[in-house]
Symmetry: C2
Subunit: 454 residues, 2 copies
């Protein structure tokens, strides 16, 4: 196998991980990134502060040998901790004992990946904004945002991992025929808020988490919600998912008085833990939530879109990064299979991955409704109890949808979606059985599920 | 009412008609067009040669007083003339007696509209390619394709009528948040071919149409088709709608021998009338078929997308231009209603037109299946007979879908779509009645339809 010149545009999580995989295969890899080196000056990428790593993501990190290192700086979240409006809480496990998703710092993970990439021989070029692409020539044009110097990157193959608003994808949209493309926004935005650690006291000199640390906290409120994920510094990053327009909405809560009044009535137990709420609310942006679907992802054997550039999804299944890391794993497998013949690799990659990225995109949108609304519905809670019981008894017959997506990287997203639809149809029939509230754990119900599974 | 500076980007059919409406309201209108003046040098716009004008389009032309002039240079087509593979033909009327759609020349119509626009005080700027837009400033940048001179057009309000690949829309996509956008391609392309007039003879010194002139000819062949529309010079412009890939496909028919062999077996009666088939087939492009949906269509009161720029559709309902002309009629009505307060006009326009343009987009895609396949199905022919009979007897209770779309501009596309779905559901039940082939025109069947309509 021949060593090739490979360019990657975008040094985010997927681009950085990809660069390691490609360098380890013996290729010469250059990565071009629009922003400065976040390792020198921790700046926000305008994205979420933390992320939930689950098994597809771990598999990606294992492939380059840094899963253990990252696990040390992640916080396992074993389930959802639901906060009702009257201050009660209710824990819903995310899987079996020992299973958890991990809250990790986006910036921290990105830095570790870039360090390892450099150790593996990858060269990073920062402040290099992609200004244009010549698809047929396989060349990419950059302007240095500081020196304004223009350069051209020529490569045998170029990977566009430049995110939801990919410059590489735009070039494919503008200069090729028959490129299917869709960007669609939710009518909801998100805003990050903060719960700091409980202040140090004499009894508790290092401060402490203000809420249970091993959970993803949700304040479901019908058509909107607040969530919180723990950070290593014992703070929580909260995210309010909220309508842009209407009542209530970001547009409506436009004064400190209106906002505080609303929060105190709606999230009373959270507000008490948020001393900087007003400042955070009015200084942090209300960001939009986009889903991007497109096809094809490649141009000949010259360019390939991966990660969010190919398939940006909303965050409600916690799978954006995990799906992007799985892209890297799949690409690496296909390069093994096709002996780095990139024409075959690119074609196989987009054909294999497209149905799976479409599936997780749809699952992610659907999970918003589950998180903000259904999790507090007694019928839903009952459904989860029945499913959990049955899947514990028949682990070969029933893996809950959440577990297929989160803990079962051997099950493609598209299969998980299809199985999940079947399961949902069965559960709706089960929930319609008379007296199900009382006999949900009976042998009759179990027999009924087994009957439907046949 | 105040006279304003209005810019229109794109001097195609919709931009030219719009300019007349706006100039007649007393505004100062400048139109910028990327191509040269087609009146000086008839060039192809890379689009179809002729178009089918129907009642929504006529209404648009009537509003500026040129419907009669255009009618003189259009050829009424009273129905579909189906050509089966064994050379038989079958006529299916497009509506009631006296109803017809009109084959008109795209270029000719565009020239007439530009002439009238100039007479109404509109100024055209040709060879002006839009290179960028400053949405907030309301300014548009142009480069003259001949002199390379750069200019900036500043206006109170700017209309983007620059077609399916709109530069104005791209700017909205790139520089605003929460812009929903979708471009989707069929796996079929089209290629224009030609049937010339029958050569002059002593008996027939002016030549003659080679086929019935007052019909839209269709050679339906399952997953593809050939169609032909008459021109004023007694030729027909044929269009082959054909898969890009597979068997058969444009990719497969890549030699003259393969192509002729296929055509002779598939369209035997047409091939005899196509002396330039081989030349046309290999020199004319295989063009793609795109549907574009997006929202919003406006940026504040500064920019508004109209016509294909807002809602490009596939040609199978013959409604692309008609829908664009209806845009002009609706905009004009809204300017009356809101006294040219463009903030209100733009908001009302996009809200009103979006469901209707979505509906005709979906109807157009669905009609491809009807034209290429269903029209030759005996069940479908029977269905049309029953519908026609019933709608003649009960014109208030049943207007066939095709007639609602084509001859009923007072019925919005979205209502037509919904009514059409109801009608289709009823007809499927009627066609399932025992003995329907024999008693389709009986009182029982009539009573049955009346029952379902209640």
């Amino acid at each position: 196998m021949q060593s090739k010149n490979l360019n990657i545009i975008g040094a985010g999580l997927v681009g950085s991980l990809l660069s390691i995989y490609l360098a380890k295969r013996g290729h010469k890899v250059n990565v071009f990134e629009r922003r400065p080196d976040i390792r020198k000056n921790r700046i926000s990428a305008g994205k979420s502060i933390n992320l939930a790593l689950s098994d597809r993501g771990w598999k990606g990190l294992e492939g380059v040998g840094i899963a253990d290192e990252i696990k040390k700086v992640g916080i396992p979240m074993k389930g959802r901790l639901i906060h009702t409006q009257d201050g009660k809480t209710n824990f819903q496990a995310y899987g079996k004992d020992g299973q958890a998703i991990y809250s990790v710092s986006r910036g921290g993970l990105n830095c570790v990946l870039m360090d390892l990439a450099e150790k593996s021989g990858v060269t990073f070029h920062f402040n290099e904004k992609c200004t244009g692409i010549d698809l047929a020539a396989g060349s990419s044009h950059f302007e240095n945002t500081e020196t304004k110097k223009q350069t051209t990157g020529q490569a045998d193959h170029t990977f566009g991992t430049d995110g939801a608003f990919s410059a590489v994808r735009l070039q494919i949209q503008l200069s090729t025929d028959r490129f299917d493309y869709k960007q669609s926004y939710l009518e909801y935005g998100y805003k990050e808020l903060r719960i700091p650690p409980v202040p140090r006291t004499l009894q508790n000199p290092s401060g402490e988490f203000a809420l249970e640390q091993h959970a993803l906290h949700i304040w479901p409120r019908g058509n909107f919600m607040l969530i919180a994920l723990p950070n290593m510094d014992k703070s929580f990053t909260c995210t309010l998912f909220f309508p842009f327009e209407g009542k209530p909405s970001f547009t409506e809560l436009n004064t400190e008085e209106k906002m505080l009044h609303f929060f105190e009535a709606t999230f009373p137990d959270a507000v008490r833990l948020m001393p900087t709420l007003a400042k955070d609310y009015f200084s942090n942006p209300s960001s939009s939530l986009v889903t991007v679907k497109c096809f094809p992802w490649s141009y000949q054997d010259k360019f390939l879109l991966m990660g969010d550039a190919a398939h940006a999804i909303v965050p409600f299944y916690g799978q954006g990064m995990n799906c992007g890391f799985e892209d890297c794993v799949v690409l690496n497998q296909l390069m093994d299979k096709h002996s780095d013949d990139m024409k075959s690799v690119f074609a196989a990659f987009e054909t294999t991955r497209k149905p799976n990225s479409d599936a997780i995109a749809d699952l992610a949108v659907a999970n918003f409704v589950e998180m903000r609304d259904r999790v507090s519905d007694p019928k839903f809670i009952l459904q989860k109890k029945i499913e959990t019981l049955f899947s514990q008894k028949y682990p070969d017959k029933w893996i809950p949808l959440y577990s297929m997506v989160t803990y079962s990287p051997h099950i493609p997203y598209s299969i998980a979606l299809k199985e999940g639809e079947k399961q949902e149809a069965i559960m709706q029939k089960i929930l319609a059985l008379p007296g199900i509230e009382r006999n949900w754990d009976s042998a009759e119900v179990e027999a009924e599920i087994l009957k439907y599974l046949k």
